[in-house]
Subunit: 412 residues, 2 copies
């Protein structure tokens, strides 16, 4: 067992910029129905083929009138108009409002020809008049309304030919509504980046199976897959590879064969004799860095084999997930075309926290009543992060944080 230390660690900022510098948004696109659009990223501008609304539309229940007919209307001196018809939303029938007349309208109805304003029902009073066998309906208008008052003009929301959503937009409920409003039932979006997830190590047993004498259950494949999916990627969990050069190379070839955008390996990037990833990636492609000045997660390796990104993530559960949150998640989001999602809260350190000079510590904490409470146990403990809401970053020149000191918690 030849044990060689890392030669030179990269700083976390440098590691981050190398990772993001190598990461590009996927080029593949796919058409998805509206019902599956939320959270997806538009692959092309959306140009409206119609005006929205497609016609001058009544914005209130009331009476469509010619605004000039009711200029003098006041509560104490109403203007009386003859009611010539009634239009509901969806009614295609033609009614013409001429001098001295009004048309009863519902919200959403087409503004009748000749009318140029709608008087809200609250400011009107309808009456039936009988003269002999004839019956007429009149309406008293109690208030004037300027031209186009209570009318949504054709195209006022979106104009035919206009770009209503731009390429790269992340679709949320309101934007899905824009697509629907211009008549789209599908949208062309970026395909989700595909990442192969692979845990290496002879000690690993799969959940659901039986645990051998020196074995532990594979958790990293599932935490990493969960993280990838939560950040807009597709995770393909491959069967664990044995810790041999051939085992690792075969697994990487298999991932290349299925055409993923990146491989995420956990385990196998430390410095023990069986930690073969460095050699394998060097041989098949290029190691861009190996070893980052962070705690936990120091043995993180990042490289490329052709266009395929390789994330060699340390095998210890807390180290694995920390590197996952700090480096992998932003990379997946960039591949997916999603914006960075860095949410933070301010809190006060619940106790004095010591740190080691020379490494940037990502300390898992939970936040309770404004206090950041360290919950990190050890790199090997899966529960170190399960109880955490996020982490605080302790820079490499900080020896300790005092109890009660202000800290910023980056939320998971």
């Amino acid at each position: 067992m030849k044990i060689s230390p890392f030669r030179k660690l990269v700083k976390p900022d440098e590691a981050m910029s190398i990772v993001l510098g190598q990461t590009t948004a996927v080029e593949e696109t796919e058409e998805v129905p509206l019902s599956e659009c939320t959270g997806r990223v538009l692959a092309a501008d959306i140009v409206s083929r119609i005006d929205v609304p497609p016609f001058d539309r009544c914005a209130m229940d009331g009476y469509a009138v010619r605004s000039c007919d009711v200029e003098s209307a006041r509560e104490h001196s109403p203007v009386t108009l003859k009611v010539v018809g009634e239009l509901f939303a969806g009614d295609a029938k033609k009614i013409k409002v001429m001098k001295g007349t009004a048309c009863r309208v519902a919200t959403g109805a087409v503004l009748p020809q000749g009318a140029d304003a709608v008087i809200m029902a609250e400011y009107t009073g309808e009456e039936k008049l009988k003269s002999g066998r004839k019956e007429a309906t009149i309406v008293k208008i109690l208030r004037a309304e300027p031209k186009m008052g209570n009318v949504s003009k054709q195209g006022s929301d979106m104009k035919k030919g206009a770009v209503v959503l731009t390429k790269g937009t992340v679709l949320d409920p309101a934007k899905v509504g824009v697509l629907a409003s211009v008549g789209r039932e599908r949208a062309e979006v970026l395909s989700r980046p595909r990442l192969a997830i692979l845990s290496t190590g002879n000690e690993i047993a799969e959940p659901g199976g039986k645990l051998g004498p020196a074995q532990v259950y594979n958790s990293n494949s599932f935490t990493l897959a969960s993280l990838v999916r939560a950040n807009g990627g597709l995770a393909e969990v491959l069967p664990g590879a044995k810790d041999t050069k051939e085992g690792l190379m075969d697994a990487i070839k298999q991932a290349i064969h299925i055409g993923v955008d990146a491989i995420v390996l956990s385990g196998g990037s430390s410095v023990g004799e069986r930690d073969l990833l460095f050699g394998v990636v060097s041989e098949m492609g290029e190691v861009l860095f190996h070893g980052v000045q962070i705690k936990p997660g120091k043995p993180f390796l990042f490289g490329k084999i052709g266009r395929l990104l390789i994330f060699g993530i340390p095998g210890y559960p807390a180290s694995c997930l920390t590197v996952g949150y700090v480096f992998l998640a932003p990379a997946v989001r960039k591949m997916a075309g999603l914006p960075a999602d860095r949410r933070t809260v301010k809190a006060k350190a619940s106790r004095r926290i010591a740190s080691r000079l020379g490494r940037v510590q990502f300390l898992a904490v939970k936040v309770e009543s404004g206090e950041a409470i360290p919950v990190f146990k050890e790199s090997g403990a899966i529960t170190s992060l399960a109880a955490a809401d996020g982490y605080i970053i302790i820079h490499d020149n900080v020896e300790f944080i005092e109890k009660g000191e202000d800290v910023e918690v980056v939320l998971f």
Copy 2:
């Protein structure tokens, strides 16, 4: 067309507490594989059936020793031990460390019998000794280590029989890792609440189809479905109902038949003659409120038919989505067993904003360089919310907000 005003509006806080007071988490549960667990809510406590780690585990690459043998070890006066073997992670072979001996170990290996500490490789030096035809390997230990130093004790992460995750926990990547670590390949989670989505109105055409002369495309069904899904619910979009009493009753019966937890109707809750929802819900069940003192979204109706919740949401797109974000989303989250998700940012009003006394205004804004910029156009405009990042709440006793005033933006 009988046009009756709302009798009495409820205040938004009261509306919210009525809605949430009627809303309960779903009782149905389902088993899902680990790969689909993220974001789901545990339906039962998870008790570990094993210790994690399942054995005393070496936490470093180095040498397993008896701590008492190396008490005096220092860099200038090393202790020399005989190397009796080598253990990798996953190795089940038995090696015994007796007085004066050490076993080379890799991180993750079972701590050999007899050993009680691991000396990090960095503080050791291995040598081969030849004496005649015999070859022996020795290691110089440069540093002492207390009992259990660099060892993760069996059960130190999770103990057999302990509750490792509690009912109601929302599963994130780290918690999915806990499930995997204790050997679970599936978890019992709350079923997603099912909501039927229905747009009413004779003016509505479905996206992808052709627009008739007085028609507009249905967008509300898609914005509401998107919102429901984004908050942990399942949305079943039903075909639009005609604005007749029978049409509405049939649609509600259909939703009852397919067994949803709630019906979300958009349109049909205003005060026009064809706005039948109030009558239909009163006849089939109970209207809990009709009309809320908010802008936009005043005509919001909420009721129950048996155990089925009825959200009667105004049909105007911006009103619809505002009521969706403010009232429906929290209700869906509660049904799904998810915690409230109210994220806010502070900003300064980009301009003077007037409001009307007596109604709480939810004003759509986008946030740019610390400024909250109103983007609301009108209730009928779908683009009112598509450009927004969230809304500011202007209380019913506020006439205006000054330019530059601090505001809190509730993010979508």
